[in-house]
């Protein structure tokens, strides 16, 4: 079930009604759990078995790990959990990809291996709930907290429908404590939750699906080069689409949870106003980047083993982060580019810090001539410069989106060459209306992100009169109703 469907409206209305009836807290939690299973089963009922398997195994493995004192046995139990979770993910998500590459590797040495084409359907949200359960087992293994004694609480933590299929990727400490005491949304929370749901739907239905998807789909599907303007518009359309699609889903999820009285973690913080790539990853898919930091980058050694290892760890984290998004080399390149930009940024920062130290040294010595001879450090406190750096970051992010969206490496290169005018005389594909639409949305998105960079919606709403909030809300809902077009799915469901 998706948020942008009539089925969801009925489902949510019934669930809200049940959640506000005077049942015991346990009954309400059972309602939520059953509703979450129904939410998932209405896609493909058999895959609910995988969800159950993951839930049951991790619940009991965590308990055993917690009780076990012998390090080797603890490691063994953790391995069972990891193998099961990552095994399922690998089979369903990477089975075809691994087989394809295995066949390609054998080919140059003269072994022609004709593997049967695997007909594997990717269970929706498997990448998300695998990370959710893994974080629980890993944290119990690290003795960060004791395992949850209530199976109901744990099952609800894994399955809670708002975050189940496309995040935010919740941690046990985010959600399990909220299941321990009765929760019901206040009138204000309910209203704000509905506002967030409307905002998320507006981003998804009107902006991503209604106004941008067609342009992005057209440009990325062409097997021939297009004009530079068309290429850029296609990439900017996708840039806006992926943000509005994914941040739209997260906003819906946060809003829906709030209507039920639960708080989910923030997943996006105006990423297109990021200054640099480390800032970008503090603002884009925050729950994934923090997951990768805590369960991959830091265990690899993080920045604790010298600068070379730090760069290697960064690259490994981002390459695997790229692969998490999809079983294709284009996603690996996307992750690799982000890793590379992060490394360059780090190098530049280190160099800049060293240089600043040198300048300070010179100033201390009182040599103005020496100080003037070195390149002055970038004045990042200047808002004009900061905006320029944000635009540069966005420019580079857009380059990476080409690999993320293009169906093949060749397609990505074709588009990149067109974007930089290396292939002249490409086809003219987009109408003035499409160009105007993408341009207006891109400028609005950048302006909105820059304006909100250090703020939040809640803070903004405090500054606005209630009728202004209502006016904005009404416009969004009317546009959602008018758009009447939706892919019925969110881009991140496939990841």
């Amino acid at each position: 079930m998706v948020f942008n469907s009539y089925t969801f409206i009925i489902f949510f209305a019934v669930l809200l009604g049940l959640h506000n009836l005077p049942f015991s807290w346990k009954v309400k939690k059972i309602n939520l759990l059953l509703a979450s299973y129904l939410f998932y089963a209405l896609w493909n009922p058999p895959f609910i078995l995988l969800l159950w398997l993951s839930t049951v195994v991790d619940f009991y493995m965590a308990r055993l790990i917690s009780l076990e004192q012998r390090p080797l046995r603890r490691k063994l139990l953790l391995t069972v959990s990891l193998v099961l979770n990552l095994g399922m993910l690998s089979y369903f998500k990477y089975g075809g990809f691994l087989l394809e590459n295995f066949t390609a590797l054998l080919s140059p040495v003269g072994i022609v291996f004709q593997a049967a084409k695997p007909d594997i359907i990717l269970p929706v949200g498997i990448s998300f709930y695998t990370f959710v359960t893994l974080s629980y087992t890993l944290d119990v293994y690290r003795r960060k907290f004791a395992p949850e004694p209530s199976f109901l609480n744990f099952a609800l933590f894994v399955t809670f429908f708002p975050h189940l299929v496309a995040g935010p990727i919740v941690r046990p400490e985010d959600l399990i404590p909220q299941f321990k005491t009765p929760r019901r949304a206040t009138a204000e929370q309910l209203s704000w939750g509905l506002f967030l749901l409307s905002l998320g739907l507006f981003m998804k239905v009107t902006i991503a699906d209604g106004l941008l998807a067609e342009t992005a789909d057209l440009i990325f599907s062409l097997p021939f080069p297009v004009q530079t303007l068309d290429a850029w518009m296609g990439v900017l359309a996708f840039s806006g689409q992926i943000f509005c699609d994914f941040a739209g889903y997260s906003t819906c999820a946060i809003g829906v949870s709030l209507c039920l009285g639960f708080v989910l973690p923030e997943n996006f913080r105006y990423p297109y106003a990021a200054i640099g790539f480390s800032d970008f990853w503090r603002r884009w898919h925050i729950t994934l980047s923090t997951w990768l930091r805590d369960y991959l980058y830091i265990p690899l050694g993080g920045n604790r083993h010298g600068s070379v290892r730090t760069y290697v760890n960064l690259m490994i984290t981002m390459l695997l982060g790229g692969l998490w998004h999809g079983a294709s080399w284009t996603f690996v390149i996307w992750g690799g580019l982000h890793g590379l930009f992060l490394c360059i940024e780090r190098l530049w920062r280190d160099w800049s810090a060293r240089r600043r130290a040198k300048v300070t040294e010179l100033v201390v010595e009182g040599s103005l001539i020496s100080r003037a001879s070195v390149i002055p450090p970038v004045a990042v406190s200047n808002s004009f410069t900061r905006f320029g750096l944000a635009l540069l970051t966005l420019f580079l992010v857009n380059i990476t989106w080409v690999f993320f969206r293009a169906p093949t490496f060749k397609g990505a290169m074709l588009l990149l060459l067109a974007m930089f005018g290396i292939i002249p005389n490409g086809a003219t594909m987009l109408t003035n209306l499409a160009i105007l639409t993408v341009s207006i949305i891109t400028v609005a998105l950048i302006g909105c992100h820059w304006f909100m960079r250090n703020s939040s919606l809640v803070q903004l709403s405090k500054r606005l009169p209630w009728w202004a909030i209502s006016l904005g809300w009404t416009i969004m809902l009317i546009l959602v109703i008018l758009t009447q077009k939706s892919s019925g799915s969110f881009i991140y469901f496939q990841f």
Binding site: L211, T431, S470, Q484
Partner: protein
Amino acid sequence: MKTTAYSKAAGLTLLLVLAFIAGWELYWRHENYVLSYNDDESLWASKRKLIYQSSPARPVLIGSSRIKFDLDLSTWERITGQKPIQLSMVGTSPRPMLTDLGNDKNFKGTVLIDVTEGLFFTPTGSFPEKEAINRVTAYPKWSLSQQISFQINRILEANFLFLDAERLALNPLLNLLPIPTRPGAWGGPKFPPEFAVIDIDRQTKMTDAFVADTAIQNKVKAVWLDIGAHSPKQAIAGPPLLEILNSTKQSVDQIRARGGQVVFIRTPSDGPFRQIEKQMFPRELYWDRLLAHTQTPGIFFEDYPALTGFQCPEWSHLTPKDAIRFTEDLIPIIEKKMSRSIPRSSSSPTKKNSSSL
């Protein structure tokens, strides 16, 4: 957080949105707008689900817009007691759907294939196939959630004019903005909104306004010329044509091997449209070759006096009134081609007088 601010905002929003919906709906009713269903993935999938009930009296129709306009489903039902299953899609080739039916081991019904040469004889994977391929590949993933949404949606669509995504959604409305055309760019065909409406059975019909107004008909003629200007100037030939014929034969053979039946149908077209079709797709090189290669019966409208003499207001499709007569006259010819009779509905006369409509 201001106390009650959000609740007050929510209340006002609800009022304003409801007022907008009511006003928007009333406006279109006042304009005498004709209700039309969205011919989307779910409506198509709801028909695809029915193919196992197919029989000579309830054929599966695949093709492009012509069979959607020209074969009147209600007339067919009046005569045979059963309504055909309409799977055709506007502007697409029927071949992906034929492949789908051929590969479906449980399908053993009757298929009527509408052949519009410019769409049927296009290279595998070309633009006219893409949308049809999308529908075919999306069908197995038609989830329970989508099916429930479809059932709710069909009730809403039956009662609200403003839910017409084809004509009254944001994008069609934005297309009405007077923005100059970009030189060299083609945004696709833009049909006048009065051209046609779609019913819940996926029947497409010209509106009364369209049939009555030659100015609107001329707009559609201009669209055909526009499409022609953006289409390949050379018809497919050589090995790619042979590939099409072979794949068609394979699917037809698969259906027949299970006891099913297939008939090709070439519905009427006229004016410059027909002249271009004759030039680009000479009958002996395409239609006759298709029938010979696949060893399949076919009905070409020009071969039957009863099927000729229709005038297409915009060169390519029949009016609703002519579609009734065309359907009535087509059924006996199909029976002859299939060498078997199609059961008749006991409650209805075999031919309804057109003048009584």
